[in-house]
Symmetry: C2
Subunit: 188 residues, 2 copies
């Protein structure tokens, strides 16, 4: 039995004991907003955006990218569950700026085990088998943080499955301050 899962289940038992009124929350988000952000462990969207259970859809992946799957989620959010606004939140010191598709393809080909970052070079220390399947994947890395926000805001705005009038705004979260800074993305 994993220690981490044990701890999570103990914390969950505590949560259940204090659940209260949350038992009757409706399915559609009360504040009609969806937030697309990174999976990064340092980000807690409920905390940094002041959201409580029932308020907002939260979509997270590596980078907070407007992948096809994120857009699938946003379309369900708007079309079926009534969200009327979307925020894209990328962040400083993002892992997606620390590698390229080529680096990831090479690392995975060598071993599937966790690699280490030595200065600015990734080094494989694993001994397990690798796979070349990583070479055919777009890992959605980026170099320029503001540009990645603009790109993803535009990608959502231009989705054929979301109304062009749906407000989509972009932000950068600073992991050293907790602050959100808007990235202006002109329409069109």
């Amino acid at each position: 039995m994993s220690t981490v899962v044990d701890e999570i289940l103990a914390a969950n038992a505590q949560y259940v004991s204090e659940f209260g009124d949350r038992r009757s929350l409706p399915l559609p988000p009360a504040r009609q907003v969806a937030i697309l952000t990174c999976m990064d462990a340092r980000l807690d969207p409920a905390h940094f955006a002041g959201l409580k259970e029932g308020d907002a859809h939260v979509i997270r992946n590596a980078g907070g990218r407007a992948s096809d799957d994120a857009i699938r989620s946003l379309v369900i959010s708007h079309k079926l569950l009534g969200t009327q606004e979307c925020l894209v939140v990328h962040h400083t010191n993002c892992g997606m700026q620390l590698f390229t598709d080529e680096v990831m393809g090479d690392l995975l080909a060598q071993s599937l085990d966790t690699a280490v970052l030595d200065g600015d070079r990734w080094r494989d220390i694993g001994t397990g088998p690798g796979s070349s399947a990583g070479r055919s994947i777009d890992w959605l890395t980026f170099r320029d943080l503001e540009e990645s926000v603009r790109e993803d805001v535009r990608r959502i705005r231009q989705s054929p499955l979301l109304p062009p009038t749906l407000p989509v705004r972009g932000f950068i979260y600073d992991v050293t301050t907790g602050g959100l800074q808007e990235v202006m993305v002109p329409e069109g």
Copy 2:
């Protein structure tokens, strides 16, 4: 200016003022765990699993499905950032059980605006244009909740880009109690 975004930015200013030690959190998740769960507004993984900033990667999409994009995120999480365990958390009363690909394709073809659920039938009330592009998308809906958890746990375990030894466990979150219940998924 949107009221919701104004409120979010006001809440964020408060968060910044109390940020404290979080400013120096490292990038890799301290508890070396990744949680894949649904975007549903009622779910707050940090709360229900007792996670604080810096602890865990959180990946969220419509349904908490092990989509290609979720697996992209999990591979980055394990290969580059050291997570050594993965939890899949689906939940009761999930929106993904309330429609099918055919229903969604029809609704989007009629209008991109938000539809309403009338008993167990979706009804388009929007007047904006629609798009047939929704017909070619796999929306990753499901009927059987436990089976969807098993399917996604297996999909992650079988990924050619994650070690077969990576522990992957499945859970159902009950939106009426806040509780997590494990879904056993035999290996192989």
